[in-house]
Symmetry: C2
Subunit: 204 residues, 2 copies
Amino acid sequence: MPRLSPSARREEIIAATLRVAAVKGLANTTVRDVAAEMGTSSGLIHHYFTSMDEVLAAAFEDAATADLTTTEAAMRSREDAADRLSTFFAAYTRIDEYGAFQMWLDAWAEASRRPALGATSRRLNVAWQHLIATTIVKGVAEGTMSCDDPEATAWRVLSLLDGLSMQLAAHPGVLQRADVLDWAMTALEAEVNLAAGTLDRPSR
Amino acid sequence: MPRLSPSARREEIIAATLRVAAVKGLANTTVRDVAAEMGTSSGLIHHYFTSMDEVLAAAFEDAATADLTTTEAAMRSREDAADRLSTFFAAYTRIDEYGAFQMWLDAWAEASRRPALGATSRRLNVAWQHLIATTIVKGVAEGTMSCDDPEATAWRVLSLLDGLSMQLAAHPGVLQRADVLDWAMTALEAEVNLAAGTLDRPSR
DNA sequence: ACGTCTATTGGACATACGCGCAATAAGAGT
DNA sequence: ACTCTTATTGCGCGTATGTCCAATAGACGT
């Protein structure tokens, strides 16, 4: 196999891990799976990562961080807080549609058994919550919203969205994606004292 | 080891599986774990189940059904709908404290990969939602509550509770169990037009 | 007391896993 | 061309898994 630079090889290991994990699940992805996906030996992976737990954590971190930063960027492109929140929901469901939510399910399930993965999952989850909370604070500062406890509100809205999305991913057909989105946005509107329907629902 | 009747042994295998799964997770529970938990040989388990998959599926079905029926029974022992809903939350968190939620996380994550487990998970999840929905309908009939769409409300409240409980299970310390319970009950009160604090919060 | 049935044992077997390591080879600098 | 670094190999080790099976032992009817 071609000899790559450490950074390039590291990235390819992560990319290969994500390709395998998309099919087999994060928990069932093995060192040999990733090696076979890359077309290299399995020992190579341990030249870059000290344990498989770290490989999975790095892969999850990579994918989830990318989703987070693109969502953050999309939100920042909007001027006022309400538009940013609308953008948040649009980005969340767009990510969801690509099957990324299954990875979050795997990460949550494995969090208590794989320390590195659990730490990553926790940090990124808090980051998502923080993204909502700070935007609410901005909305309150603008005078368009009011909220007693933005941190708590952010946890409630994110958890409602996660819980509903879990049903979409685990039990397809039980709920409609459009309903899930609408319910979560309505809940947020009520929490921050916006009139129902203020936030823009994506067209599809 | 004492010689048991087939039905008794079968039940004990399932019970032992659940005790192990509460700690190690459903997916990581092995034949030898269960045998050690029972204090028997591992071969015995294959005398009653043709594969480990069947053991896990039977165990999940058993536990989830048991939790559901005991919760149903506890709710039915209360007279009016509001008390039944309080009982629902009390039962849910009591189950949660025993580590049962990790099993649900495993089931949700595996649902899309293991059809049998997925079907069971879906059926029981719908049953839990139905339990809330019918109680709300009863509350509306009693005149103590009002709700436009009890089915949708039940999904929202259950999913909020699930989403928050997921944080408790996957990222301990990020949220407080008492807050999770209070937030979910407050959300339900708002949905069915009950004054905030009407539902009884468990003392601990 | 004896025989029959079967619950239970204890370990063999093949496979898969994470991980480590000596050997190899490819590329960069001189 | 020649060294030096290190990316990469290929395999081995220890452990863990699910499954199977001959041997054992306990309970029950006769």
